[in-house]
């Protein structure tokens, strides 16, 4: 049914999608485009795509499903450009980490019976280092893939069928899907994804200042320190658009953590410390 899929952006996520589609049995053709041609060639060499196109619009035109896997502002830009050249027999989806602004654009530009469908998506999978060379066919196995589909959108019958097909492929790649309202999505990921990232960034930056001059002391912290700072390697380029498009929710989460740390600091020698540990223990209890 799906003869051709386009992956616009063959970085870590885009290339992993190509590899995962192949290892889940997708038999159609997969074409790729990337802003930097080297990443496109690497994805081709890794078998994630069958050919590299030099232009994203050209790459998208003849495909039934178009997956946008670039940062959020670049996603919005591609959404604008693609909306006028695609039609009701095509589905566009994305992998962006915030969904409010993308869902708004999807309402404005897509999802009428005359236009292409757009299904906003967000696989909760990644690595602290991006790039096609870190891509992995099993990246989405066991992960949650969030969608912020809107039941009021009116899609053509063909576009609705493609949407169902894509959900099937996501499950074949090993992910569990959850549907959320886009505003609720952004609030939730502010807590469970963006707050942990920004905490690791602040902790790593602080420790670099305090013990960075004595690299042998970094070993002293052992596994616990390595885990708490691994996300500190995440690049700004991956997180800038997230900070810009989910600012208020992230601000609330950060402020709440600052207050929680202050509470703990003020209670290092009081019985209140026990309550904090017991509350924390509950979160990890399976």
């Amino acid at each position: 049914m799906i003869e051709r899929i386009s992956i616009l952006g063959t970085g870590l996520l885009g290339t992993s999608v190509g590899l995962a589609l192949r290892s889940s049995g997708f038999k159609g053709s997969i074409v790729g485009w990337n802003r930097s041609p080297e990443q496109g060639q690497l994805a081709l060499k890794m078998g994630a795509i069958d050919s590299v196109e030099s232009d994203p619009i050209g790459a998208a035109r003849a495909s039934q499903i178009i997956i946008i896997a670039v940062p959020i502002y670049a996603t919005l830009d591609l959404m604008e450009k693609l909306a006028s050249v695609l039609g009701p027999n095509q589905l566009v989806t994305d992998v962006g980490s915030t969904k409010r602004v993308i869902s708004e654009a999807a309402s404005r530009l897509y999802n009428t019976p005359e236009r292409a469908a757009f299904l906003p998506g967000h696989p909760m999978a990644g690595k602290e280092r991006g790039g096609a060379d870190n891509a992995d066919a099993t990246l989405f196995r066991g992960a949650v893939w969030l969608f912020t589909d809107d039941p009021t959108w009116k899609r053509s019958e063909r576009a609705a069928a493609l949407t169902a097909d894509w959900r099937d492929w996501v499950m074949k790649m090993g992910s569990k899907t959850i549907d959320l309202d886009p505003v609720r999505h952004d609030e939730l990921v502010a807590w469970v994804s963006h707050l942990p990232q920004f905490t690791a960034t602040a902790l790593s930056a602080l420790l670099e200042e305090e013990v960075g001059a004595a690299p042998e002391l970094k070993d002293v912290g052992g596994r616990a320190l390595r885990e708490m700072t691994r996300l500190g390697s995440s690049p700004y380029s991956m997180w800038r658009d997230i900070a810009h498009t989910n600012t208020e929710a992230v601000e609330r989460a950060l402020l709440a953590l600052e207050q929680r740390l202050a509470h703990l600091r003020e209670n290092l020698r009081t019985p209140e410390l026990r309550d904090e540990f017991e509350q924390a223990n509950k979160f990890r209890r399976e």
Copy 2:
């Protein structure tokens, strides 16, 4: 040369020491004591010790090396009790996470030519769950084992030789040793060990409040969230004495992190965010 070693406290660390000594070729006898007899029996069954004693003083009396592996206040208590019954042919060492108060007690109660030696130690290894059942012969492999030995202490020749022997066993168990001043030790571990722990506790406690009622949403965070909250499982019983005996250094580290998070929060939409990410990236660069 060493015929008998005593392990006082056969929890995670004590039992792991017994297992690691055996797998590193220690041929003498190892006796154990534990406040809760079940943990002692478990350590015996696991082969970490050869016999269980019902009284720590009795267990220590006939041993050349006595390893105290209990929380810090209990360590100070045992140090007091043992000092009057042990002699200059014996070495006591410990595994406590803060060293200032223990080193002070070691100066006061040990380390004269007529008394037993005390070598304050701190293996930077552990797990978020304690107990003999989580013990592991390889726990110390690749870890750093800190000592806060004091060159002004005057030990008997025999006690000095036992101190050198114990350092050899620590290296045979696979650890790298580093010697630090006790005050510097407590400052360093406040940054690289205690701050990461209290951050994970605060983050886990906060997230339990925010998303704890919807357990399926915990999965959404994926590996990043699991890593950033794994230490949230650590029990209060393991951390209370640390908070009490390293309060000022931990307060300073927590306050610095609160300020760093506030700075990041105030700069989510400014170029300053790039600087924070770049500073954090440096910490993880090998």
